[in-house]
Symmetry: C2
Subunit: 201 residues, 2 copies
């Protein structure tokens, strides 16, 4: 695994701001490859195939599912969403780091198939912030928001299944934390040992 890239999995409850951190990370390190999900839902106006999503027909999706071409998938209402495996693997083989922004359920499914990934859990500084971020979206009913908050609390309980936890109290600082994690992961002896013994002996 010495020259392979890192699979970076950024997850956390909705409202934790993981999307913001991913964007900031990519700005600081544009060499990171972003994994694009596949979906059966129709494209919205302005969405580009292969950029926002790979838009597949139900038939195409199910065929790929049968051929185990997804790292993970989920059905949300009537639509399927999945992480295409081949593209991720190809980039990692080339030595490129691949970023996967994904909900907590998906992240743990990916971990089953790819435990050598770097699993990072993002959280807002206080549970109150989670609440205000969820409320702030303003697109949901009281009941929906309560549901979301409770599910966020449940998700946080699973943090021990991740390798690292980053508190998103400040986007710059939190992004710096993620960068430190990636640097450290690349300095682990199991990654560099094969190169080193060749070089120094």
């Amino acid at each position: 695994m010495e020259n392979r890239g890192l699979l970076i999995v950024i997850s956390g409850p909705s409202g934790a701001g993981k999307g913001t951190i991913c964007k900031a990370l990519l700005k600081k390190d544009p060499s990171i490859h972003v994994s694009v999900s596949a979906t059966t839902r129709p494209p919205r106006i302005g969405e580009v195939d292969g950029e926002n999503y790979y838009f597949l027909t139900m038939e195409e999706f199910k065929e790929r599912l049968e051929n185990e071409q997804f790292l993970e998938y989920a059905k949300v209402y009537d639509n399927y969403y999945g992480t295409p495996k081949e593209n991720v693997m190809e980039q990692l083989q080339k030595g490129k780091d691949v970023l996967l922004e994904i909900d907590t359920e998906g992240a743990l499914k990916v971990k089953e198939k790819f435990p050598e990934g770097v699993f990072i859990f993002i959280l807002p500084p206080k549970i109150e912030d989670l609440k205000s971020r969820i409320v702030g979206r303003g697109t949901e009913t009281e009941e929906d928001m309560e549901k979301r908050l409770n599910s966020a609390k449940e998700e946080i309980q699973k943090i021990h299944e991740y390798h690292y936890g980053v508190i998103n109290d400040d986007v710059d600082r939190a992004t710096g934390d993620v960068q430190s994690i990636l640097s450290a992961e690349k300095l682990k002896t199991e990654r560099i040992y094969p190169q080193w013994t060749e070089k120094y002996t």
Copy 2:
């Protein structure tokens, strides 16, 4: 272990520049506590007890050895050297990070007693650099230098027993690597999990 400091063990073959990196690290983060070794060798001019070393009589050293007051010790020619345990533990309990700069033999002895430490191996960019740094000291015979180089090569073989490896091609960059490692270690979920569950549930 959530609020405990990190035991940072910086090691590597002689000539790798681990002392330089430790100095640079302490300059960047003066909150790190440096572990001071104990020795039975007499102080040299300018050396201060409790700062360069704890200078002990042979009797004092052996008594502490019997009472298991050292994390590791070694006999070099007629003198004993050791890492006092109590002081290290006290600082870690207070939540302070403790830095231990130590040869590779000592580092692995510390690892046996304290595997939860962060073990970092420092190496020069090329084996030739190791040679030139050893030669550059100019205080040794050809035979001594050959011996040192061979022992360095042997030491490098043990790198897989460390957690991280940092190549000292540039002191600033290498020190940054060590800082990233420390940041990442503090973000590991097993460290933050107990605090988080308290905070978010």
